[in-house]
C-alpha cells in the first residue's frame, strides 16, 4: 500500500507528518483526511468564533495531493 503524509493545521499550529500512514489508494487517503478532522476538533474544543482545521495530504514524493478543511463557527446569541 502506498504511504501518505497528513499535515494537520489545527488553527493554532501545524504538525507536519513525519511518519505517514499507509492507505489503499488516493481515495482512501482523502477519506482518512476528512475523517480525522472532526476528531481533532473534538479533542481541542476550540474557543473563539471561528476555527479552521485543515488536513493536507501529501504523497510519497512530498507533493500535496488533497486538502480538506473543517470550519467551526460559533456565536453567542445572548450577551454575557
Amino acid at each position: 500500500m502506498p504511504r501518505y503524509f497528513f499535515d494537520i493545521d489545527d488553527g493554532a499550529r501545524t504538525i507536519r507528518d513525519q511518519v505517514g500512514t499507509d492507505c489503499a489508494d488516493d481515495k482512501a487517503a482523502y477519506d482518512a483526511a476528512i475523517g480525522v478532522l472532526p476528531n481533532i476538533a473534538r479533542d481541542i474544543l476550540p474557543d473563539g468564533q471561528r476555527r479552521d482545521f485543515i488536513a493536507t495530504v501529501k504523497d510519497q514524493s512530498g507533493e500535496a495531493v488533497f486538502r480538506a478543511t473543517l470550519s467551526l463557527r460559533t456565536e453567542r446569541l445572548r450577551s454575557a
Binding site: 504538525i15 507528518d17 513525519q18 500512514t21 499507509d22 475523517g35 480525522v36 476528531n39 479533542d43
Partner: protein, 247 residues
Amino acid sequence: MTADASFDLGMLVRKLESIAPLSDEERGAILRLPATTKVVHPQQDIVRDKEQPTQSCLVLEGWAYRYKMLHEGKRQILSLHIPGDIPDLHSLHLPVMDHSLGALTHCRVALIPHEPIRELTLRLPSLSAALWRDTLVGAAGFREWMTGLGRRDAIGRLSHFLCELYLRLEAVGLAEGYRYRLPITQADMSDAMGLSNVHVNRVLQEMRGRELITLSGGHLTIHDWPALTRAAEFDPTYLHIRKVVDD
C-alpha cells in the same frame, strides 16, 4: 512435551508471582504441566471466535491480542497480551470462544491442555485462586479499557495504553528505565484505541512534541513519566501488581 517446556512455563510462574505469591509446590506443579510450543506468524489466529479449544495458550515471545471483527473488516482490539499472559485461560470454563485470539507480532506460544490445568486447580486450591486472580485482573483491565474508549480523549487513551504496557512489561522483566519495545503498528494501535490511523499518527506526534515520549524503530521511550500519567489520568491500582514501580 517439548524439551524446554519447563523453561517456558517459568514465564507463567513469573507472571503469576507478579500478582500473587506462590509456594514451592505450586511453582513446581506449574513447571511440570505438559505443553507443546508453537510459532505463530503476525496477524495469524491462535484460536477463533466460536471455536471450542481444548487447550489454553501461554504467550512466550511476541505479542498476542484479543479482538472482534465487525462488517467491512472493522476490527476492535480488546486487549494486548505479552509474554507470561494466558489470554484464553477462560476457555477452561467457557467452552465456546466469544472472540478471537491472534498473534500481533511473530509469536511463540505454549499450548497447555485443559485437563491437566483443571486437575491442578482441584489439587491445589491456592493455585486455583492465583489463576482466578489473574482472570480478575484481566477483567479490571477491561474496565479501564472501556473507560478509555468511552470517555478519554485521544491523547488520554494513548497515554494510558503506554503507561499500562510499561508497568505490565516491567512486572515480568521485559522493560526498565522507562523504555520498552513496542512492536505494534499504528494501524494496530488505532484498532485498539478506537481511533483512525491518521488520528493516532497525529496524537503520537503531538506527544513527541510535548516531550512525553519518543517512538522510533519500534522502541518507546517515556521521557516524562509523571506528565504521561497525568495526561492518562493513570492509576495503576487496577493492574494489582505486587511490586509497583514508584518514581
